[in-house]
Symmetry: C2
Subunit: 110 residues, 2 copies
Amino acid sequence: MSVISSDVIRGYNDTMILYILLKEPSYGYEISKLIKSMSQEKYIIKETTLYSAFTRMEKNGYIESFPDEDKGNGKKRTYYKITEAGRKYYFDKCEEWKLTQEVVEKFIQK
Amino acid sequence: MSVISSDVIRGYNDTMILYILLKEPSYGYEISKLIKSMSQEKYIIKETTLYSAFTRMEKNGYIESFPDEDKGNGKKRTYYKITEAGRKYYFDKCEEWKLTQEVVEKFIQK
DNA sequence: TGTCGTACTACGACTGTCATAGTAAATATA
DNA sequence: TATATTTACTATGACAGTCGTAGTACGACA
């Protein structure tokens, strides 16, 4: 049986980002807007948190960056797409979340 | 409307500990056993995490320590009891947890 | 006598998050 | 046309909860 680590509960920003990338590649600003709207304004990811998540996840092989192609006008976005490893990581995190939630629930009063 | 911080999601060890202290005062070893059994062995708090939580929470005024009285045999336990501020903190954390859960859920696939 | 369980303390590393600050092009507003 | 705002990032370093490692010491049990 799997056991939870406490630090496990950290790093769910990665999960949110990956969820968005599951559908299609995207870039920083768009992702931050999506997280905001999807959470009904209840969660606004910090820019530094977001961009450092990109760096970390690319290093870990969960995402891959590529430049914005269609325009040569100078406005440069960096797009990210999820990798196979990233997909696996995401689904593992989903499982972990369910377990975590189950446990924490037992210590929460309604 | 309240907004979640990411780091918010950390520190639920404190919540678990306080939940136990809500009922009656207790001490490190007992609390760790309780967390283990209450979570059906799914979560085992690390000793260092537990004791540093005590230090931190006492400093913050959420708990108060007192020595084990009833025995003069040398086996010394440090008991902790929750304070009024700790009780408030606990219930605030419960609210925060519900909000957090709600948000993260939207990014989790079943 | 030695091992196991109980009940801690000390110390420092790790790492995701965050605050602060700055750059620069694109778009909207006056 | 001038200015403000939005878009789209990068850099740097601090913060703090968690964790790994190690050590102390008493009691019970075999």
